[in-house]
């Protein structure tokens, strides 16, 4: 039954993704054909693709759906920039003109450089240090970036989606219908196959909210990342860091006496071993969530890089054999990415549940 459900889910999202991807490729093709007419050297195209990928992986201060690089036009919406630089400064990201111009706010000048905002002079000069990094001052940036904007939209969507699921239960007197019938097996899977076996019957209930939220949050964003809108949220280190930090905090705060005892004074081993084990165990406390954040970040980023590279290869080959080959490769990778999207959400949730389980475990033996 569960396998069948995932199969259907995969099919549903796959269908959407294929349609969407073809759409995206179409756009890309459009803009690259232009480019090739004017700069036929393949090397330049490769650099352009590389830059595109780099740009895609990063967060940005405006929501650009696609760009016409030839005309220097970007299609999308600007987003609000919020800076803390001796007082709150709020202005539209359109004033940066996609990093081409210096924004002047109340006598201060800011420039967008490689996705980051720097304080500059009126001309927008960027000074570099020895390692070719910008040495300009960076104001604290609380902008509603593309990722933040996506998170707000996704949060609203999830709220609507799951509260309507909850309402459907009330309406049909506890019988799952519509969305509820579709999502209930997944919710049950998280409860019966992730939370209960890892945390235990006694304590699992209070972690269900977190586990469900984190699972659907990561899964939906992973799936959204495969859409051609170019939203890459879960492949962002700040996002995975925030998620892993929450897991870390919840774990430490739910840790009982046994949990701490197993870290600082491992029972059942001779005392010199206890002294050796304590720092290792303590290190493990931090390594676990760190692995969690790196795993999700690396998986999603790598997926995006591979997929975009393969799509880029189509234009590098620019012949029917190579291009169709890369198309099918990109197709295959998309399929795998759909699986990875679900798998990473599952792993993150599973490991979080496992860590909570360690924290609340009661050892009466030893």
């Amino acid at each position: 039954m569960r396998i069948k459900l995932f199969y259907i889910l995969t099919l549903v999202f796959f269908g959407f993704n294929m349609f969407a991807q073809e759409h995206g490729e179409h756009q890309k093709e459009h803009m690259n054909i232009y480019e090739e007419e004017h700069t036929p050297e393949a090397l330049k195209l490769k650099d352009k693709i590389k830059e595109d990928i780099q740009h895609h992986l990063k967060d940005s201060h405006d929501f650009v759906l696609f760009s016409d690089t030839q005309k220097g036009k970007h299609y999308g919406i600007p987003l609000p920039v919020i800076l803390w630089d001796n007082g709150l400064k709020i202005f539209s990201s359109s004033r940066f003109h996609h990093g081409e111009e210096v924004a002047e706010v109340n006598g201060s000048f800011y420039k967008l450089y490689h996705g980051k905002i720097y304080k500059t002079d009126a001309k927008g000069t960027i000074n570099y240090d020895d390692h070719h990094h910008p040495a300009n001052a960076k104001p604290l940036d609380f902008s509603i970036t593309k990722s933040v904007f996506s998170i707000i939209l996704m949060a609203l969507f999830m709220l609507w989606f799951f509260s309507s699921m909850a309402k459907s239960y009330k309406k049909h007197d506890g019988v799952p219908k519509g969305i509820a019938a579709f999502m209930e097996p997944i919710v049950l899977f998280i409860r019966d196959d992730i939370a209960i076996p890892n945390i235990g019957e006694k304590h699992y209930a209070k972690y269900m909210n977190y586990l469900l939220t984190i699972f659907f949050f990561i899964w939906f964003f992973n799936m959204l990342g495969l859409f051609p809108l170019g939203i890459n949220v879960t492949g962002n280190i700040a996002i995975t860091f925030a998620l892993a930090l929450l897991t870390f905090i919840i774990t430490q705060f739910s840790g009982n006496k046994n949990y701490w005892k197993h870290i600082f004074w491992m029972p059942g081993v001779p005392w010199p071993m206890k002294i050796i084990l304590a720092p290792i165990e303590l290190l493990g406390v931090f390594i676990k969530p760190f692995a969690l954040l790196i795993r999700l970040y690396a998986n999603i980023s790598a997926g995006h890089i591979v997929l975009m590279s393969l799509i880029g290869l189509m234009f590098v080959f620019n012949n029917w054999l190579g291009s169709s080959l890369s198309f099918f490769l990109a197709f295959a990778i998309s399929m795998i990415e759909i699986l990875v999207a679900l798998l990473q959400a599952y792993i993150f949730t599973m490991l979080s549940a496992l860590y909570f389980g360690f924290a609340v475990e009661e050892h009466d033996d030893h």
Binding site: I151, A155, F162, Y169, F241
Partner: protein, 166 residues
């Protein structure tokens, strides 16, 4: 590692944490709690229904067993009653026969006695009548004979003689 730190954006981290916690809180209130409760209620309902069905089946079995037992008991009881009735009938017939016999015998004896009595009475009656008749006859004869006085004296004398003899 340097790339990771360079990629890290504090603003994004701040917003993600804030929005995620808000989402977590709202989803908990408006989605997960009612959903999990609905699922749990339903599961409990199914569990209860199954249990009560099991109970009902057990009760049914008990009832059937009871019925069978009662039926069996009734059958044995019926047999017993029949047996008893049969024996009673036999007894009654026997008793009746006995009684009838006794009554008949009794009746017979009584009849015999009565007949005897009647016979006796008849005999006695006959005797009396014979005696009366004899006396009458004797009277008549005596009357005829005792027309003369000497004859009377002679008779009295003979009678007296008889009395003396008696």
């Amino acid at each position: 590692m340097e790339k990771l730190i360079n990629d890290f954006s504090f603003g994004l981290f701040f917003w993600q944490t804030l929005l995620f916690l808000l989402l977590l809180f709202l989803l908990k209130k408006y989605a997960w709690k009612p959903i999990l409760n609905a699922i749990k209620d339903r599961e409990d309902g199914i569990k209860n229904a199954l249990e009560s069905a099991k109970e009902a089946r057990k009760e049914m079995q008990n009832l059937t067993a009871d019925n069978e037992r009662i039926l069996k008991e009734a059958r044995t009881q019926r047999e017993e009653i029949l047996k008893e009735a049969r024996s009673m009938k036999a007894n009654m017939i026997e008793e009746t026969k006995e009684e009838v016999k006794m009554i008949r015998e009794d009746l017979m004896a009584k009849t015999k006695e009565e007949i005897a009595n009647e016979k006796q009475a008849a005999i006695a009656d006959l005797k009396n009548q014979v005696a009366d008749l004899s006396i009458d006859i004797a009277e008549k004869i005596v009357k005829g004979q005792l027309d003369a006085k000497d004859k009377q004296v002679k008779l009295i004398e003979s009678m007296l003689k008889d009395v003396k003899l008696n």
